[in-house]
């Protein structure tokens, strides 16, 4: 296993259009935002195609972002409760008094 890992790392470090997992990892956000320059994007995408661990990592990273977004976006409507009367009165008195 160690030998295979070393071979992989040599290819990733010195092969043309190659990069290491660590360097590819640093590109993830720019890649997802569509902000990677063309050459870096090609290098990143090649790495993702060749490296199963990074491929899975990218999929799960994307999924985690979506889960966070759906949690926030799905909840507020369902979580709506009545505004406490006291708070409502405080808002109205403060704002109507100060913005006649």
């Amino acid at each position: 296993m160690k030998v295979l890992k070393k071979i992989k790392s040599l290819i990733m470090r010195y092969g043309p259009m190659m990069t290491t997992c660590e360097k590819a990892h640093a590109f993830i956000d720019d890649y997802l935002a569509g902000e990677l320059p063309a050459k870096s994007r090609r290098v990143f995408e090649l790495h993702i195609r060749l490296c199963g661990e990074c491929h899975a990592y990218l999929d799960h990273y994307r999924e985690a972002i979506q889960m966070g977004q759906s949690y926030f976006h799905d909840q507020p409507d369902e979580a709506c409760e009545l505004l406490p009367d006291e708070l409502s009165r405080a808002i109205l008195s403060t704002n109507i008094d100060s913005h006649p």
Partner: protein
């Protein structure tokens, strides 16, 4: 019942009944948005008051390019994020233990999810996923949670997030990357279980 455009027109005329209608109609929603960000009822109520002050003082500038609810959401989210900024701890908490590791050659090291699997238990219902996501986001140190919410949830761009949170652009990018990586680690058991 006023239509949205009628309500806005009356608000611009500073009609007091329309202000009351706005608070009654949208206040609870805005409070829940603030609560989700600051995770504290008293702070959320303060944010709501600040947000309505902003709404009342700037309603004349509302041009209707977005819907009223979207505009109100953005104002209260902004207020809540600014509240997080003001409560920021002096010392930055670490989330290094949740970040991926690489060997000396730059290869990705397998991550251990033992702690998270232990918390997850044997069975997981779909309805529990929302709770797990909420707990995972709550476990992020505040300075990372604030950036994650500003960028990924509220959709503020990097520059806007930097301004709201009073940090520089590079800090926004770095913290976002670390927060996402940590969130991914915390949610890995759910993702692996294929519940979502």
């Amino acid at each position: 019942m006023l239509s949205e455009s009628e309500l806005i027109a009356r608000l611009k005329e500073r009609d007091q009944e329309s202000f009351a209608a706005l608070v009654t109609g949208h206040g609870a929603y805005m409070l829940s948005v603030a609560n989700r960000i600051v995770r504290n009822e008293a702070d959320a109520q303060d944010c709501l008051q600040e947000a309505f002050m902003k709404v009342f003082s700037s309603i004349s500038q509302f041009e209707g390019r977005s819907g009223l609810r979207t505009w109100l959401h953005r104002i209260v989210a902004n207020a809540a994020l600014m509240r997080l900024r003001s409560k920021r701890r002096q010392q930055e908490d670490s989330l290094d233990h949740l970040l991926p590791m690489f060997d000396k050659y730059g290869n990705r090291e397998p991550q251990s999810y033992a702690d998270q699997y232990a918390e997850l238990g044997v069975l997981m219902q779909k309805t529990q996923v929302q709770d797990i996501v909420r707990q995972a986001i709550d476990r992020l140190p505040e300075q990372y949670r604030a950036v994650l919410i500003a960028r990924d949830i509220e959709g503020f761009n990097t520059e806007e997030s930097a301004r709201i949170l009073d940090i520089n652009i590079n800090a926004v990018k770095t913290r976002l990357h670390r927060a996402r990586a940590a969130l991914k680690t915390l949610l890995q058991p759910v993702i692996s279980a294929g519940v979502v």
